[in-house]
Amino acid sequence: MSRGRICCLVLLTLGVLAVVVALVVILTRPTCAPQHYLHGAVAADTETCSAIGRDILKSGGTAVDAAIAGLICTSVMNPQSSGLGGGVTFTIYNASTGTVEVINARETAPRVFPHNLVSGCAAPYLIGPRWIAVPGELRGYEEAHKRHGRLPWKALFEPTIKLLSKPLVISPVLDKMIHHPYFSDLGKRLCPLICDGGRFLKRGETFRWPVLQRTLTAIAESGAAAFYEGQIGKALVEDIRKAGSSISLEDLKEYKADVSPALNITLNNHTTVFSPGPPMGGAVLMFILKILEDYKLHEASLANPRERVETYHLIAEALKFGNMLKPLMSDPAFSEAQVTVRTMLSDKITKLARSRIDDKGDHPLNHYNLFESIYTSRYKSKG
């Protein structure tokens, strides 16, 4: 065989190999349905804030960086829902360590509050300065960023500060809230922000929020300390004390976020659910799922009308049992809530709940009170 023919053969073989490799790469490349992603995603309650979170991920930020940036954005896009004056709870899965932790930055009761506060619980609207708790939001961001952040703290605030440099539009959701008959009278208190004279702004109209822009800029530059120990905290306390709240600078200075491992249960020996323990609702959610786990619900459970009603009957009953446990979810630093959670997620209690589920949905309220019956039976067993 001539040297030329060998050369051609080698080139042809290499060509065929290249085509085969290319085909293998193309055919084995993961493909997903439209609207699905391959790298990362953010689901916030506005498109703007989801996009800010996604851009943080794309620029090398961690999941925690993206969540913080998304939440800062939410405080501007949906100010009725969350903000620096509130609290936050993070459940964080670290893929490199396989651990799941909870950062609980829920608000706390201040040192001084009205002694008869709870007697006011029957009022139709629990609003006004007496109900303000010490905000934890920023200490939560700070702790989460310290433990899991990669981008500089400031970078997480910049997209929202930029957002605030332009007029903000009253969204359909915000419009629905400020014009809801429940809140329209109360809303007047927010007139410095969302009114034109004495009139509420309407959907599509715009407003500016320069004071918040200044606050966010100061926090971006100086950290959460600007809020809890600095000028912002002082100004905030001055304003809310003027309104009638008893929250002090000491309350702000003392605020700390809690870090703990997430509560977890494994369902059907296959899926592990991680969620925050008390005072959050994770244990109640797990309890409901644990009751239902044994019924082996699946697609065929909804196959026909009879099956559908039976399935939703089970869910309704499990929700009722779970609902009764909510008042027990108190702060473990001040209660025995951890013991309560261990008991409620035990096989014994979920089995007791299942034993009380029959065909009927008209049981009286005490039928769903599992803990009362346990304590009663303990009492009886002690004679």
């Binding site: 405080s75 905000p135 959701v173 809230m177 809801h180 899926t271 009603v309 609902n323 108190s330």
Partner: protein
């Protein structure tokens, strides 16, 4: 309340719920800082007992992460006061056990328990509702519910993200 779910390229995930309670919390606005204050002390009303300084009030918030043995993941949580538990639980049941896709799992109308009564969200299946009432379940009319769930699921290599249409949300990914 507002929930955000995040899944990063390295597989790390965050499920976070933030709140000032109610719409607009306490309705107290700080003119000097631009901050709207919460009314979270109202959440102590559910426990009906004395409050201590420094104590955190009970909450229905349950930002959750579900991880299967095969590595599939669901990052989920919700907003909407007491409805959070029912809304998040039912979205998980729909996704995990009924095999719904994420959008359907979250957007399907839910039911909620209050005491021994059941509240049905608008557009909840009439067939199931009447079936439950025939079994003796007592119904209570839902007056003001704003249950909103945000979730991200990863099955194999594909990531699906959904922000609840109840609050006109939209997710983003890459």
């Amino acid at each position: 309340t507002s929930h955000i779910s995040v899944l990063a390229a390295d597989g790390s995930a965050v499920s976070a719920t933030s709140t000032i309670n109610y719409p607009f919390g306490s309705f107290v606005y700080s003119n000097q800082t631009g901050i709207i204050l919460n009314n979270e002390l109202a959440d102590f009303c559910i426990a009906n007992r004395s409050i201590k300084a420094g104590e955190k009030p009970p909450s229905a918030m349950a930002p959750s992460i579900l991880i299967s043995k095969t590595g599939d993941m669901l990052v989920i949580g919700g907003a909407g006061g007491a409805w959070i538990t029912s809304a998040t639980t039912m979205a998980i049941i729909n996704k995990l056990w009924f095999g719904y896709d994420l959008e359907h799992a979250i957007s399907a109308p839910i039911m909620h328990a209050e005491g021994d009564k059941i509240l049905f969200e608008t557009h909840f299946s009439e067939e199931i509702r009447s079936g439950l009432l025939r079994r003796g379940h007592k119904e209570k009319e839902a007056t003001f519910a704003m249950n909103v769930v945000q979730g991200i699921s990863k099955e194999g290599k594909c990531i699906s993200a959904y922000s609840d249409k109840r609050k006109m949300g939209k997710s983003a990914g890459y």
